[in-house]
Amino acid sequence: MAERIFVQANEAVGWGALSADCMCFFGYPITPQNEITEWFARELPKRGKIFVQAQCETAAINMLYGAASVGVRAITSTSGPGWGLMQETMSNGANAEVPFVVVLVQRGGPGAGTTQHAQMDYISTTKGGGQGGYKTPVLAPASVQETHDLVQYAFYIADKHRTPVIVLTDAIVGQTAEPLEVKKLDFGPLPPKDWAAIGSKYHKDGKRVGISCAQGWSGQPPYFTYQSFLEHLNKKYPLIEETEQKYETWQTDDAKLICVAYGYTARVCLEAAMMARREGLKVGVIRPITLWPFPSNIIKEKIAQKARFLVVEDSLGQMVEDVKCVVQGKTDVHFLGMLARHQPGAGGMIFPDRVLQEVKKLL
């Protein structure tokens, strides 16, 4: 059996990034992601890699944009208000089509909200939180091992589609410690980064290249008109939606009621579903791993099976909108949100027995 270490998921971000040959980290302190920034500060310089503590999150993501523009793998992490500050350059990265990875450890909102867990950034991550119309893939791990694996997968998806990618965790997942097997994952070959702006003499044809966050308007190749750039995006996003859906299911084949949840609440739902099964209730779980693209195909499959849905998320209702959008009234969609936490303070959680109670009410 491979050697395992006992770490937090926040630290597993670092191990995953190293396994993916990530060269740089740029970040700014904010709770509850500080372990990530501190891990990179400790581990990158001694490996000859680059760590910069930026003066703000706006700077951190622009450094990330710079690193991605010269063809290097780079990562940052943030939470709550820091995520708000990064939106402009998330949008610029989507326009310029530069691949980088942002880890968002969700905390309570809106505003400064809390420094504790929540799942309230689903909409701002999956629907393009910044200016203009863009989408970026969002990956939602639910364990330490999966955080490590999905950070590597995020770099792969980013390079494959030339897009920023978000790894969306929360304070519960991020600060949970579990055994981790550090290993390099191979997802297949990637195209060369011959578009990177590294100085004209390093390009095969000796011609200059430019990275522009005003593609289609700036008059630079390959999109000489705004229309041609829009046509490109209009193919790119549906292609990602078709080909990159990822999810996990648990006992959905005969389920009458299916819990849909991601991140920490998915683990809560799994526990609740196991308890329900022991009582003979036909309950299953769908755990979306990609939040954009939303795994609509599996939901459609289960509608045909006449299953009903219970969406559990630690927010006032965000992912439930996507489930309803796929279901289109063909079956029931119920919601259990953060008002079902075990206590009213910022530290309250949705526990399995509360989910079970809801399941029993519905079956």
Binding site: M23, C24, F26, I50, V52, A54, Q55, C56, T58, A59, A60, N62, M63, L64, Y65, G66, A67, S69, V70, V72, A74, E88, T89, N92, A96, A197, I198, G199, S200, K201, G206, R208, V209, G210, I211, S212, C213, A214, S218, G219
Partner: protein, 256 residues
């Protein structure tokens, strides 16, 4: 009119690095950006480093530089070239990395990025064009607008309630991470030569790997100043250069 304002020089040909656009330049008559762009082309050619250069433009008229100067470039969000250049230069320390920003980009929206890059002693060159207003958006007040100067957002002229002009080249010398800071102009052939000399010094010092190098370039904006090109040259000599004196303000060989 002063002798220096009327000085004429014949220039033949364009630098090899200059990209010709069939639709012609998009600059207003009398704008100084193309003159400075030419100086950059000449210096890069003379130093033989153009193919090893990565430019980082800000947002504003100056961003045009990368449509006409044939080097690799990475465009950025408004005010953020120093952050982008920080990553680029740290990843590729052997490349020449320079930003080209306006006064609004560098001193207003991007002041935090500018000062922080200087404080960290980042080893690239920041070039800031100072035309005392926001040119691209139609001539609003900038951090460099002179007291009394009329703009579209100071219709009665800049008053104390609007705040006071920022002198970037002097200000930035206070930070330890800065090894070179100078201000120049391209309003006459003498200053054009001075600009090339300062640029060369800044680029050479960048390769000494010591700290940040900064160059401020005064630039006429006749269209938004509502003057003829010749009147704007006179205004520059009479008003702008006395407020923003030319010269080198810091040139050190080590940081102590």
């Amino acid at each position: 009119m002063k002798e220096s304002t009327r000085q004429k020089v014949w220039v033949s040909g364009t630098p090899k690095l200059w990209i010709r656009h069939p639709q012609g330049g998009r600059q207003c008559p009398g704008c100084h950006h193309p003159i400075f762009e030419r100086a950059v082309c000449e210096v890069l050619e003379e130093m033989g480093i153009a193919s090893n250069t990565i430019g980082v433009p800000g947002v504003g008229c100056g961003a045009r530089m990368f449509m006409v100067v044939n080097v690799d470039f990475v465009t950025t969000a408004h005010g953020r070239p120093p952050d982008v250049a920080t990553a680029v230069k740290r990843i590729y320390p052997d490349r020449l990395v320079y930003t080209y920003q306006g006064d609004g980009d560098c001193l207003s929206i991007g002041m935090g990025s500018f000062m922080s890059a200087a404080a960290r002693g980042e080893k690239f060159t920041i070039i800031m064009s100072n035309n005392s207003n926001y040119g691209t958006t139609g001539g609003q007040m900038a951090p460099t607008t002179l007291m009394g100067q009329k703009t579209t957002t100071t219709p009665e002229g800049r008053q104390p309630i609007h705040g006071y002009p920022i002198h970037a080249a002097e200000l930035i010398t206070q930070l330890k991470g800065v090894v070179y800071s100078a201000r120049t102009a391209v309003n006459n052939p003498t200053n054009y030569q001075r600009t090339k000399k300062y640029l060369k010094t800044a680029f050479q010092k960048q390769f000494a790997n010591l700290g940040l190098t900064f160059l401020e370039v005064l630039s006429a904006c006749p269209a938004d100043w509502h003057m003829t090109p010749l009147e704007s040259l006179e205004w520059m000599e009479q008003k702008m250069i006395p407020e923003y004196p030319l010269g080198e303000f810091k040139n050190v060989d080590k940081i102590e």
